[in-house]
């Protein structure tokens, strides 16, 4: 897939030049100290929250998803106040990994975590978080694994304000001076002292399901009502919504909700086609209302492949801000397809929000694949491997269809 050279101007005072590069260059410039256009003095306060940065396009405050490659695809990161919906892969292997990266990023940045699950105890989830990669350890392993990648350190010292290139390869190595977005080693666990030093709240549905409801019965299922109340309580008590002047919070609340919509939450949309069709969508709407009025960001993983009523999936998509779908090759016919042999699955960016703007950052390349290497989860542009041996065979079947086999 060829990279295209274009010229474009960014919003406001930033200019960006996008140039083509050859396959061997991995250079990406990190813009230091970005100033958003139209920002007021309150942004200087907001920027000082650890682990956040303003988006260069619209000044929106962003947090990292825990995967710098995904941040890049989403236009810099996940905007505070929005929902990132991950459509789970079939066996919930990679989506739970993304979930853990999201939480690990929160711990590293000192954000407060709110972990909600109906399947695993949040304390157990936190024990399984991947360990952060420190730059010097990482570089040695990284150089072994892929010798045609270059780290981006040397480019940071350049004076060019901001420049990124449309390339077939994504930024795959750590940028040494970045405080935004970290790399994680999937084979090691997060050190215990970091977990204990972090502030987190857990919502484990089987534990909470017995307490009584103090809200009028509406069409939400019991689990969702309790979860909403829990989230709202934390936001209010800890001052994330800015309503309490004494508890002025200067931190982000990272909310992670696992397997939303699965039968474990008491919702039946995965079991039957005529299930409670409004419970999940109402939940998402009120959740988004809570997020928009507080300093929080939320990642939800949802087994959309199990939802029987397709209309609900499209409604859920419309009600979420960013939607990313994961499709793993395990057990599917694509596993043996030589085009996909280097990868573990595909990533589909289904929706990116246009916040405060008519336009949005969208990558030109729509074919993205991911792979879980020994330690790293990487996302790459799917491109035809031209140095593959071309052993094309043609068959004609009995009903005169022509089949090509690569």
């Amino acid at each position: 897939m060829a990279a295209v050279a274009t010229c474009g101007t960014g919003a406001g005072s930033t200019g960006s030049v996008v140039a083509a590069g050859s396959k061997n260059h991995v250079t990406s410039f990190q813009r230091r100290g970005p100033r958003a256009s139209g920002s007021d003095s309150s942004y200087s306060r907001l920027v000082s929250i650890a682990g956040t940065r303003p988006s260069v396009r619209n000044g929106q405050l962003l947090v990292s998803t825990g995967l710098p490659a995904l941040d890049q695809l989403l236009g810099g990161g996940l905007a505070v106040g929005t929902v990132l919906l991950i459509e789970e892969d079939k066996y919930n292997i990679y989506s739970s990994l993304l979930f853990k990266y999201f939480l690990a990023e929160g711990i590293i940045n000192g954000h407060t975590l709110l972990v909600a699950s109906a399947k695993e105890d949040p304390a157990d989830i936190l024990q399984e978080l991947p360990a952060p990669l420190l730059d010097d350890n990482f570089k040695k392993d990284f150089d072994e694994e892929a010798c045609n990648h270059k780290t981006a350190e040397s480019n940071i010292k350049m004076k060019i304000a901001w420049r990124y290139q449309l390339l077939p390869k994504m930024e795959a190595g750590p940028v040494s001076s970045s405080r935004f977005g970290h790399y994680y080693d999937a084979s090691k666990k997060m050190p215990q002292e970091l977990i204990e030093a972090s502030k987190w709240h857990g919502f484990f549905f089987p534990e909470k399901s017995s307490s009584t409801l103090n809200i009028e019965p509406c069409s939400l299922t019991h689990g969702y009502i309790k979860l909403l109340q829990f989230i709202q309580n934390i936001i209010y008590e800890e001052g994330f919504d800015g309503s309490n002047p004494q508890k002025k919070q200067k931190n982000i609340l990272r909310i992670g909700i696992q397997n939303l919509g699965s039968p474990l939450w008491g919702d039946d949309i995965c079991c039957t086609e005529n299930g409670n069709s409004h419970s999940l969508t109402k939940f998402l709407y009120v959740l988004r209302g809570l997020l928009r009025t507080s300093l929080s960001a939320c990642m939800i993983t949802m087994p959309t492949h199990l939802i029987q009523n397709k209309a609900i999936i499209s409604r859920v998509t419309n009600l979420s801000d960013t939607v990313v779908g994961l499709e793993s090759f395990i057990g599917s016919e694509r596993e043996t397809n030589p085009l996909y042999k280097d990868y573990h699955g595909l990533i589909h960016i289904r929706q990116i929000p246009r916040l405060n703007n008519l336009i949005y950052d969208v990558s030109d390349v729509k074919d993205l694949a991911f792979k879980l290497k020994r330690k790293l989860f990487t996302i790459e542009f799917l491109h035809t491997n031209t140095d593959r041996v071309n052993t094309e065979k043609t068959f004609i079947t009995s009903d005169f269809r022509v089949i090509h086999v690569f």
Partner: protein, 251 residues
């Protein structure tokens, strides 16, 4: 500014919100009194985009030209705290809300003609972004159609104002309620603006296609409805339109 019209905005496979922003800034600049039922995004989002298009929503709200119902924020209030008076989004608390009457009352109150003779606005306008969300929140298509019907009676017929509403077209996903809503509204509308994604998929220079259809719902259709199709590209502060195949990128 034509009066007494219902305009339906519709998007299929793409995001039609730029049309909402356009109409909002258009009517505010035309000095109309606008009631905006904004269910899908926050006030500051519309405000920031509005500033790029040349209107300030904050100023309009302060001087009474704009009545803004911020759905996301109000939903939190109405969901977690029992309200003393009927709230326009009251159906969120109820298990089987029958109709959208509180919302209609809100709209009627907002677009009430002011009697003191000051600053007469040109005509009342109701703008809804978007109606499909109401289906997701538990209302049936019939309830939403009734709501629009009542609003039409008050806003369009009684007060000679306009209504602009956005409905998503879910395409081939079997969202029957949404299809009922869309079809029902299409028959009542005077103008339908339909933003569609290109059939060939994503393109950087042409973001989609806009189909404009003029209708006369009150008269039997002896004459053919006029329709036009343009392709468009959304830019930072505007949208550029061009005839099909005439994108500057291609020529």
């Amino acid at each position: 500014v034509t009066k007494g019209k219902l305009t339906l905005l519709c998007d299929a496979n793409t995001d039609g919100s730029f049309l909402v922003h356009h109409f909002l800034s258009f009517y505010l600049k035309a000095n109309c009194k606008v009631c905006f039922v904004a269910l899908i995004q926050s006030f500051s989002h519309y405000n920031i985009v509005g500033q790029k298009l040349g209107v300030s929503l904050t100023v309009a709200r302060e001087c009474g030209q704009l009545v803004f119902l911020e759905g996301l924020k109000s939903s939190v209030d109405v969901f977690f705290r029992a309200q003393a008076e009927p709230h326009p989004l009251q159906f969120l608390r109820e298990a089987n809300a029958e109709n959208l009457q509180p919302l209609y009352e809100f709209v009627r109150e907002a677009l009430k003609p002011v009697d003191d003779g000051e600053a007469a606005w040109r005509c009342p306008v109701l703008l809804v972004d978007d109606l499909s969300v109401l289906l997701s929140l538990g209302m049936g298509a019939v309830a939403v159609l009734d709501f629009i019907h009542y609003c039409r009676a008050t806003v369009c017929w009684e007060r000679k104002g306009n209504i602009v509403a956005l409905v998503h077209d879910s395409g081939d996903t079997e969202d029957e309620e949404n299809n009922i809503l869309l079809n029902g509204l299409s028959h009542q509308s005077h103008l339908i603006l339909r933003a569609e994604g290109l059939a060939t998929g994503f393109c950087r220079d042409v973001h989609g296609q806009l189909r404009i259809l003029w209708r006369t719902p009150s008269q039997p259709t002896t004459q053919r409805d006029q329709s036009l199709t343009y392709q468009y590209k959304i830019q930072d502060k505007s949208v550029s339109f061009f005839a099909k195949g005439m994108s500057p990128a291609v020529l």
